[in-house]
Amino acid sequence: MLFNITVCPKPHLDDCVGRNITHKIQEALGIHVHETHVAQVFTVEGLDTAGVERAVAEGVLHDPVLHDAFLTPPPSQADYVLEVGFRPGVTDNVARTARETLGLVLGGKESIQVYTALQYHFTTSAGRAAVEHIAADLLANALIQRYSIKSKAEWQAEPGFAPVAARVTGAASNEVAVIPLASMSDSAMEDFSKANTLALSLEEMHAVRAHYAQPEVQATRRSMGLPEDPTDAEIEVLAQTWSEHCKHKIFSAAIQYENKETGRREAINSLYKTCIQRPTAMMRKQMGEKDYCRSVFKDNAGVVAFTDSHDVCIKVETHNSPSALDPYGGALTGIVGVNRDPMGTGMGAELVCNMDVFCFASPFYEGELPPRLLHPRRVMEGVREGVEHGGNKSGVPTVNGSVVFHERFLGKPLVYCGTVGMLPRMLHGKPGHEKKANPGDAIVMVGGRIGKDGIHGATFSSEELHEGSPVTAVQIGDPITQRKMYDCVIRARNLGLYSAITDNGAGGLSSSVGEMAEDTGGCELDLAKAPLKYDGMKPWEILLSEAQERMTLAVPQENLAAFLALAKEMDVEATSLGHYTDSGFFHVTYAGKNVALLPMEFLHDGVPQMQLEAEWVRPAAFPQGNDVLLKNNVPCQFEDAVGQHTGGHGGFLLDMMGTLNICSKEYLIRQYDHEVKGGSVVKPLVGVMRDGPADAAVVRPLLDSEAGLVLSHGICPKFSDADTYWMMANAIDEAVRNAVAVGADPTTLAGVDNFCWCDPVQSEKTPDGKYKLAQLVRANKALEQYCLGFGVPCVSGKDSMKNDFMGGGEKISIPPTVLFSVLGNIHNVNKAVTSDFKTEGEAIFLLGRTANELAGSEAAEALGLAGGAVPQVDLLAAKTRYALVHQAMQQGLISACHDLSDGGLAVALAEMALGGRLGARVNLARVLAEKGLGVAALLYSESASRLLVTVRREHLAAFQQLMGTHMGFDAALIGNVANTGTLVVAHGDNEVLRLDVEELAEAFKATLRW
């Protein structure tokens, strides 16, 4: 029998949760609701009346100081009541905790089931249609939730909603289907791939068919009792192992690249090998003894040196497609998922910190939404909350991040989540970053159970998002199950109980066991032993499920009992599913029945290399060597465009401070714990009022040491339409510059590249594929050149290549975007520097030259100007500058340092001023700039590699001497910090703008003060 226990806030207490919902409805939908009260409904199965009465009497699910709990529908005077519950099979964390707690208090956990729902009681004069709108477009996501509405009359006639058990029904199954590949026509194969979300191309299907047609393969299969044609599980395993998501086929492709501009043709055999792996290998060789890379590209995260006792590792992932469908679940799964990468690196790393970078369309978007796309504001709020819950509940500080807005992210939001981990340098006499499974080791799965969630995640994300994208690809992370697993894994690691570990991400067991089996050359996996969330899964589904919060370990047989006992004690599920072998086969059974038998070599190396063509033609809007800006296709003077602002230069700067890309993200930052673990040194917000933006994060992961880590990033999709080469160069430069700005030693940096592209394969769907691939080639060329130039080896990276939306006859492709993240060392955190002005009288230096580079700039965007010259990066000058800045910081000569990026000099100055709540007097005539550059361009050009630093009077001589010893070092003393509380900018004798610092702060903070 089902019982509903409804928990309501006590009527005399302030219901702030309800008030917050009321506010959100008003802000997001413009619907006025007078009052909202929120009740939590627990639908309980497996208890008798006495049991639920005891649960209520003892306050098991509610707090008697705060709540009233009802076994009958609660009294309600609401005009409408909306109930939102989960659909069957969707992760329900509150229900899991409720079930465990009921089981603990009342006993009989195994027979208890709990399902939860939220009930919103609205007092409103808005009608039923408005409540439907609230449900459909704010409080419920039809993909994962169901909802019901009752009016006051309906409630009074029949109070409450009938209890709903979101039960997954089905019987245990050992069904293995055979796919008659040998007899399929080409079109049948293509249809089969599409219908099953396999994302296998015809060429790949042919390769699979050819493999199965080989006489020796057929003989082996016969001898093992398998059909000659592939089983469903085999096709699924191949599809996911060969997916773009897992195999990076585009980055591995053979590309014919033609630069139409120069007429040069070039054959590239794998961008990944040539432009990413090779430079790192060259740098490592060059560094010789001093090589600080420990493990690159091969593990779940890249490992680099930190202190004598510890190494650190970093991984950044994207979770774009799931976040488009269910922003909360997608982002939560993204952050909790990337946490498992360090956990599964080497012998398992402890987590240090997270970073998140999001790309959205404007939350104030007012246009029509193509079918199935969610409003950007809803996407942003969902993603924010998902990362909040994922990061905060996991106890990992979110120390760095940014939000980038561009209209084309309407098609697909980008959600980058990164995690830094820390490993003991040596563990049980072996380097901590090394691991190896041995034949005979048990395959042990630890953590959550397997469900249908996330089936086809890898293949799904290897396709564009369309109206019929599968719902099972959506998952909701469970940070507590993962936290419990993490506690257990780290203890087992310290006890030396396992020989290898990896995470279950895309592809689930198929991928984790398949990869680890490469160590030994095979495995025997019995799916019947796998713990399931519910019955009704076929063997291939168990194998492919991407249900979260699981790690796969290789546990030596002699440690197996101890390991399983430890897990049991720590309340963590751990199951032995078989063992690793050296048979050469990935062999999967279900209680003795054959499910899959794949030769390891074919599984991992059988995918045919893609042959692609790329063709670079410079976009007509951005002709080479032309810096003319266009308004409505007509040349336009930037100085005039800015000068026409009714508020003059001052008014324009205030507008700029409030643009989405520049404005304060305090709203998000404060809702993320950025200090847990106790090692925070430079926080995301700095300055007197804690509202100035920091350039990068500094953390001290070893609390008894003063050695620190710096985490920074660069991302500038705004330059992609002009030239992805300069987009990439600027992103790297920005990441390095940000790291140096807070005190990172530029000789210790490690990079992570995360490419998010739109489909670059020429096809009917993508008629401009050759151009998009050329964009990819150019970005990679810049990556190679600038990583080598700056001496920043990439140690890890990822790509997501199908960020397009198709629906309602429309295609939206994101601007090609690369997040370049940098992890560096700061040997003594006491030398870290922040961006806020410190004291009156300090000299302000602008380091670097300013050119007329306004393409993609925030000012051009604000003014609706196209074209122009994109910022170029002078590698040698930048590198010298960063080294000198670091030297000056080491000598304590710099009191504040801030990078110039979005909004150029004007915005950087304003940010430093508001951070310190101090004014400044600056003379633009002193800026080292291209000849004839106007005032507006001096203020808003986004030329690369520039920094503002302040120097105290007593250090001025030493600073100038240090700078002076380096010929060609472009440092200009442009003004002084003033205690007037006013930022005054002049050009020679002409005052350009004069703004109160408080006014700047207000403009900076108003836009996203939600």
Binding site: L13, D14, C16, V17, R19, N20, V60, H62, D63, P64, V65, L66, N93, V94, R96, T97, A98, E100, T101, L104, V105, E388, N392, K393, S394, G395, I480, R483, K484, D487, R491, E569, D571, I669, R670, Q671, D673, H674, E675, V676, K677, G678, G679, S680, V681, K683, L685, V686, G687, V688, R690, R700, L703, E706, V829, N830, A832, D836, K838, G916
Partner: protein, 271 residues
């Protein structure tokens, strides 16, 4: 010779500030700081009786899914150890024997839900107050000024007038079970720390100086013995000068470690 101070920091099921709490205890002079998983207590490998200073750190016990620490409080109430002993009785004996208990953030929430605080009339293990959603209905991370009640019997805050430490929570607003309870908390000086205005030093209800709308700015409570103390802000997160949000401006107020130092001084019989 001063007595040995052994600190026990409890973790597991979503606790996540155990390392910085142990570090703070060590840095403040504890002879030992052991981090034990709840499972270690259940297995009997670790016994509360072997320690003098017990810390319940911050985190998200069971995800705070039923409300902060609600599920965890029941785990403490209903769990028996491998040898059949009640954990709650062990905890009760620990307090009775003169041990010190400090709960921070989620640890404070746990103590309140367990009824370990405020324990008016020394009625331990009855829930007299609770902690609920911040008035903003939001989780927030920000630093707050605290006024210390020098009339309080709390041994952790002896000699302190103010503190500046971060809050990082979504459920920090105190709700008493009755108006009388609130009156008695104030009258009996069980209110130890209150959110205060940095300029006047006076208790404030002004957001965000008072980050959660807690009545009378209440940020932390002690029991009538002063040996059991819980607070929403994180003193352990201010364990090094560079934790301070404006240390690069030369700001260096008292470290949060002072709370741990006071505890250890008390246990050594020096205060």
């Amino acid at each position: 010779m001063a007595p040995t101070v052994k600190t026990l920091v409890i973790t597991g099921y979503g606790t996540n500030c155990e390392h910085e709490c142990a570090h703070a205890a060590k840095a403040a002079g504890a002879d030992e700081a052991v981090i034990a998983h709840f499972a270690d207590l259940v297995a009997g490998r670790v016994r509360l009786g072997d320690f003098q200073f017990l810390i319940f750190p911050g985190g998200f016990l069971d995800g705070d899914d039923l409300g902060a620490a609600q599920a965890a409080a029941q785990r403490w109430q209903h769990t028996v150890t491998a040898s059949g002993a009640s954990l709650l009785e062990e905890l009760s004996a620990f307090v009775a024997s003169g041990g010190l208990v400090l709960g921070i953030c989620n640890g404070f929430q746990l103590m309140v839900k367990l009824g370990l605080l405020p324990a008016l009339d020394l009625a331990y293990f009855t829930r007299q107050v609770s902690l609920t959603h911040n008035a903003s209905a939001r989780y927030e991370d920000r630093w707050c000024h605290l006024k210390v009640n020098q009339q309080s019997p709390c041994v952790f805050t002896k000699g302190l007038e103010s503190l500046y430490v971060p809050v990082r929570h979504g459920e920090g607003r105190l709700v008493p079970n009755s108006p009388e309870t609130l009156e008695r908390l104030v009258k009996e000086n069980l209110v130890v720390v209150q959110y205060a205005h940095p300029e006047t030093g006076e208790v404030t209800m002004e957001y965000p100086l008072n980050p959660n709308g807690s009545p009378q700015g209440i940020a932390g409570l002690c029991d009538p013995t002063g040996r059991v103390f819980g607070l929403m802000p994180h003193p352990e997160a201010f364990n090094h000068p560079t934790n301070h949000p404006s240390w690069t401006r030369g700001d260096k107020p008292t470290l949060g470690l002072v709370v741990f130092e006071n505890a250890i001084r008390h246990l050594r019989g020096l205060a």
